[in-house]
Amino acid sequence: MTIDIHLDNMAITLVSIETKLNSLANVISEEKMYKANFICEEILTNLARHADFEERDPHATLSLVSSNTDTLTLLFSDNSKPFNLLTFPDPQMSLDIDEREIGGLGIFLTKKYAKVLEYYYEDGYNMLKVIL
């Protein structure tokens, strides 16, 4: 199933995604469901806050594919300027509390939670494939 992402209304988008994910509850474990919701929020929040769509009308989608073996694939696409989050530096975890910032943590945990994480740029679209 494919969901149109409304970057200007994250509340509706995230509820829509959660509803779609919940419909897969019979084949996807609770832990995997949490990780999927987590990754969707982090990727889409990052996109809404930081993506540069230059002169284009923003267009983003999320496709969900599940199997009956507790495997879930998320495929994010967007037409913003090319951005490969796999190359985004990890936050410095050893910093003292005064120096700790939240930036980068969402991407860091997405990398940790994904079994497979692939990025490619195709026909003007960033494509991010996450397998859980």
Binding site: M10, A11, L14, E30, E31, Y34, K35, N37, F38, E41, E42, T45, M93, S94, D96, I97, D98, R100, I102, L105, G106, F108, L109, K112
Partner: protein, 110 residues
């Protein structure tokens, strides 16, 4: 997302519930800052009924911990569910925020 607070054994206990996500965490951060502005001797954050924690929710916790350090009072969390605790520890927050399994545990050790 709902939040309230009460005092018990000289601890300010701030209770969060529901989702600490990008939609709800900013409101909770504001609520927490208001409670911490009273400069308690200790704050325990009850996360027992928090079902979801994202990096936005971690921002709430980091804000609380930074205020506590600056104002020199104790700040800890308790009652995290399994995946909430996983996000907390994977982010390295267990290095600077104490966490306890339950309120009883937190009160006994804080």
């Amino acid at each position: 997302m709902e939040a309230h607070f009460y005092e018990e054994e000289n601890h300010l206990i701030v209770v969060a519930s529901g989702k600490l996500d990008t939609i709800h965490a900013p409101e909770f951060t504001q609520f927490l800052k208001e409670q911490l502005s009273t400069k308690p001797s200790s704050c325990l954050l009850d996360l027992t009924t928090v079902s979801f924690l994202s990096s936005s929710g971690l921002q709430s916790l980091l804000t609380g911990a930074k205020i506590a350090k600056k104002e020199n009072f104790d700040f800890a969390v308790f009652g995290m569910k399994e995946m909430v605790a996983d996000v907390f520890s994977m982010s390295g927050f267990d290095q600077f925020i104490k966490s306890y399994a339950s309120k009883e545990d937190a009160l006994a050790k804080s």
